[in-house]
Subunit: 464 residues, 2 copies
C-alpha cells in the first residue's frame, strides 16, 4: 500500500467549517459526527455542533488529527490550511470552491497562495472544489453518500468533480453496480489522478478502475503510470470540443488539451479503455468486474425479440467482433429443441417459445466451441411476469443454471433487459443473485465484451 | 381519414384461435372478451371460451364481422383467411408466425398461398408474424398492452415486430412518453409501412410518427410517401451490417438492402430523421411532441454539475449546434445573481447554489436573444431530496415558472436527469405536470433540439 491510506481510513478527523444548518457540508458533518469515525467539529463561533463540542481552531483539539476536512468559504481557506499543517495532519480534503475555476484573478491568486503554503509541508491535499473521498468498505465519506443504498463491490472511481461522488453512485447502485472507493479531485493543487491510479492499482479492494478526467497537468507521468497498471482502467475524458474544453477550464481550471493526444495515449496502452459517457463507464466496469474474460471474439445472441437481435448484430460488427457461427451439430440440436417457426439465422430468436426453449438452447451455446461469450436479451413484458404464477420461479431457476453453465464452460454471459423499470428491476434482482450483470443497452454489452476480449489478449502476451 | 379505420376502431371482432390457456393469444383473447369491443371467440372444439359462447367457424357468427384476428397455427391459416374473406370482414390481423421468416421452403410456400388468397379479395391484411394494432385512445388492442399503465399521447409507432408492441411501450410509459397508436407489421404480405404512414399522416390523434423498419419491398413508393408527409417522422432502420441484414431476413423475411441507399433516402427528405436505437427513437419523439420548435441553433446549458455541462458542450458541437453566447447584459445580470465561486464560462454551472439561483438565472436565459433553447441538467442527489422539507415544493414552483417562461418567450426547454431511478421519477413526476420532458441522456436532448431546429427551418421554407 502507498502512504495515502489516511485519506480512506482516517483514525481522527477534524471538520473545519462544520455545519449544522442546511448548507453545503451539513450532510457530511452530520454523518461523520454520528459515525464510528472519531470526528471533531471546528467552528469559529458555535460552542457546539449537532450535540458535539466544537473547537474554535483545529489546533485547540486535545487529540492528534490525521485528516482535516475543510468546508469554509474561500477567503478563510489559507488560514485553515496553515492551522491544519501546524496541527500536523497527514491529509487535507479541501472541498471549498471559489478558486481558479471561477476565472477571476483574485481567486486564482488565492489558489496560488494555498499552493505555496502546502509546498512547504509534507501534508497531502485533495481539492479544492471537490467532494473528496468515499470508501464503501469502511463507510468513510467526506461527500454525501447514503451507504445503506450503495452496493459494495470492487469498482473504484477517480473523478474531478462532485457529480460522480454521489449522483452517479446513486445511479450505479440502482443498477446493482458495486463500488469500492470514490475520489473526487477538483482543481488538483496536490493529489491528482496519477497518485490515485497508483494507490488503487495496489488496493486489494479494487478490481476495476474508472477515471473521469477533464485534463492532466502531468501528461508524461500519466503515460508512465498507465503503462504500469495491472488492472483494467476505463477512462471518460471530456472537453473533446472547443466549447467543451472552454467549459473544462471554468469547471476545475484544468486544461482539456488536444483530444487527439489523449486519444493516442489511451490507445497506446492495452488495458486502458476510453468510453464516451458515464453510463458506458459504469456499465462496462460492472461487466468487467463480474464476468470471466472472453477467450475469443465470437458472440452468440439469444433473445425473444428478433428486432433487438438484429440491432445486436449491427453492434457486434460495429465493434469489430463476430457473431458466433454455430457448428452444424449445434444447429441441429437447436432445431430439435425449438418449434419450426423459430428462426436461428444468425441470432437465436426464440420468440414466445423462450419459456421452455431458453435453457436447452443455452446449453447448446455454452457447449459450442465457436461461442466465446453470450448475450441474452430479455424481453418478456410486465404483463405475463405479473400474471403468470410460476414464471418468476422458472426464471430464477434458469439463472441458476446459466450461472452454473458459465462457470463450467468458463465463458461469460450477460443479460440485456428492455421494458419498464419494473421489468428491469424484476430481472436484475434475480440475475444479481447469480452474478449475472443486467444492463439496458445492447451497445454496452458488446463494447464490454470487446474490451474484455482485448484485455484477455493482452494478459496472454504478458504470460509468455 | 383513409379507409383503414376498421383496424383501429373495429365495430365487431372475431378471434380465430381464441385461447383460454396460457399460450400466445391468451392475453389478447381475455382482454377483448372483457372489453367494450364486441368480440366473438372462434374455436374448433371448445363450445365456450372464458365464459363466452365460442363458434366453430367465423362464418357461424350471427353478426357482421369487421375485423378478424387470427392466432391459429400456421397450417390452419389459409383456411382461416378464406373463412374470414367469405364472412366479408374488412380487415384481418394475422398474428400467427411460421412463414417466410423461418427460411423453410414449406413455410415460404404457405405464405405464398395466403398471398394468392388475399389478392383476389378486397380484405386488407396485417401480418403474418406480428402482434397487430394498439389504439391508446379507444383502448383497442390485438397485442398485450396494459392500458392502465400506458401514458396516452400523440406519438404513433409503425414497427415490424412485437417488441415495440409491448416492451418498448412499457418502457416509454415509465418515462412518461405518451402514445397514440402502435402498429406491428410482421412479414407485410399486404399492409406495409407506406399504408400506415399515409394513415397516420391524416390521423388527427397523431403528431409525431416513429417508424422501426427492417426493409421495404416498395422503395420508390416509400420515397414518394416520405416526400408527402406533413408530420415529423423518426426512423430506426436496422440491419446496417452484413450479419444484421442476414438476421433481418430470418426475422420478418425482409430484405435489409444496402444501408447507404436508405440513409440517402432519409437524408433527402426534410422532416425525416434517422436514429440509432429505440431509446433515441422515443426520447426524441417525446421532446418533438411536447416542445416548441427552436428558432435557431444556440443552446444554453444550465446545471448543477460542471462535468455534465462539459459533456453537453461536446455533444452540442458534435451535433453541429452552438452553445449560446450570452449578451454582455445577461452575463452581468447572472454575475449579480450568483456567488462569485460559480462559473459561467460557457455553461451556467450553478453548483450547490442552484436552490436559489436557478430561476433568476433561467429568467435571464429565456430573455436573452442569443438563446434559442435551454437544456437544464438536474443533478440534485436523492439524499437532500428526501431529507430537506420544502425542497419538493420549491422544485414544483420552479417548474411552474419554467413552463410559464417557455410559453412567454416561445422557446423550448427540457430537463436531463441523472442519478437513480428514484431521482428520475421524482423530477419526472413534477416536470410532466408542467409539460417539460425529462430524459436521462444529454445526447438525446441535443439530438432532439437539432432535429427540431432543422424541422423549423424546413417549415419556414414551406411557408414562403
Amino acid at each position: 500500500m502507498t502512504d495515502l491510506d489516511f485519506f480512506f481510513n482516517p483514525k481522527t478527523i477534524a471538520i473545519i467549517g462544520a455545519s449544522d444548518t442546511l448548507r453545503f457540508g451539513y450532510t457530511t458533518t452530520k454523518y461523520l459526527l454520528n459515525s464510528n469515525f472519531k470526528t471533531y467539529p471546528v467552528h469559529l463561533s458555535k460552542p457546539e455542533i449537532l450535540g458535539h463540542k466544537a473547537y474554535k481552531n483545529i489546533k485547540d483539539i486535545p487529540d492528534e488529527i490525521e485528516l482535516s476536512i475543510i468546508l469554509v468559504g474561500n477567503k478563510h481557506v489559507p488560514q485553515a490550511i496553515r492551522d491544519s499543517i501546524d496541527k500536523g495532519v497527514n491529509g487535507i480534503i479541501l472541498e471549498s470552491a471559489g478558486f481558479a475555476e471561477t476565472g477571476l484573478d483574485k481567486n486564482i491568486k488565492l489558489q496560488d497562495e494555498i499552493i505555496e503554503i502546502i509546498k512547504k509541508s509534507k501534508t497531502r491535499v485533495i481539492g479544492p472544489n471537490c467532494v473528496g473521498i468515499s470508501n464503501f468498505n469502511n463507510e468513510f465519506t467526506s461527500s454525501e453518500v447514503q451507504f445503506n443504498r450503495v452496493v459494495k463491490g470492487d469498482i473504484s472511481i477517480i473523478a474531478q468533480s462532485g457529480v460522480l461522488g454521489n449522483v452517479f453512485i446513486d445511479w450505479g447502485s440502482s443498477q446493482n453496480i458495486g463500488f469500492s472507493k470514490s475520489i473526487t479531485l477538483g482543481n488538483k493543487i496536490d493529489i491528482d489522478e496519477i497518485d490515485m491510479l497508483e494507490y488503487l492499482n495496489d488496493d486489494p479492494e479494487t478490481k476495476v478502475i474508472t477515471l473521469y478526467l477533464e485534463g492532466t497537468k502531468r501528461g508524461k507521468d500519466l503515460m508512465e503510470v498507465l503503462k504500469k497498471m495491472t488492472k483494467p482502467v476505463l477512462i471518460l475524458k471530456n472537453g473533446r470540443s472547443d466549447i467543451g474544453s472552454r467549459a473544462v477550464k471554468s469547471h476545475t481550471s484544468s486544461i482539456a488539451g488536444d483530444d487527439r493526444i489523449y486519444d493516442a495515449m489511451f490507445k497506446q496502452h492495452p488495458g486502458i479503455f476510453r468510453v464516451d459517457n458515464f453510463y458506458e463507464l459504469f456499465n462496462i466496469a460492472h461487466i468487467f468486474s463480474s464476468q470471466i474474460l472472453p477467450k475469443g471474439k465470437n458472440i452468440a445472441i439469444i433473445t425473444g425479440s428478433g428486432s433487438l437481435g438484429i440491432l445486436a448484430c449491427d453492434e457486434i460488427r460495429k465493434q469489430g467482433l463476430s457473431l458466433a457461427e454455430l457448428s452444424e451439430e449445434s444447429i441441429q440440436e437447436i432445431r430439435n429443441i425449438i418449434p419450426d417457426w423459430v428462426s436461428i439465422g444468425g441470432t437465436i430468436d426464440l420468440g414466445p417459445s423462450q419459456g421452455y426453449t431458453l435453457i436447452p438452447c443455452l446449453k447448446v451455446l455454452f457447449k459450442d466451441k465457436n461461442v466465446n461469450a453470450i448475450v441474452f436479451i430479455f424481453t418478456v413484458p410486465r404483463g405475463p411476469l405479473e400474471e403468470f404464477e410460476g414464471l418468476e420461479a422458472g426464471i430464477k431457476m434458469s439463472f441458476r443454471i446459466i450461472n452454473k453453465l458459465s462457470k463450467e464452460t468458463n465463458k461469460p454471459i450477460l443479460c440485456v433487459s428492455f421494458g419498464s423499470r419494473w421489468v428491469f428491476e424484476f430481472i436484475m434482482n434475480i440475475a444479481s443473485k447469480f452474478n449475472i450483470p443486467v444492463v439496458d443497452r445492447i451497445k454496452h454489452a458488446i463494447m464490454a465484451f470487446k474490451m474484455m476480449y482485448e484485455y484477455n489478449q493482452y494478459l496472454k502476451t504478458k504470460e509468455i
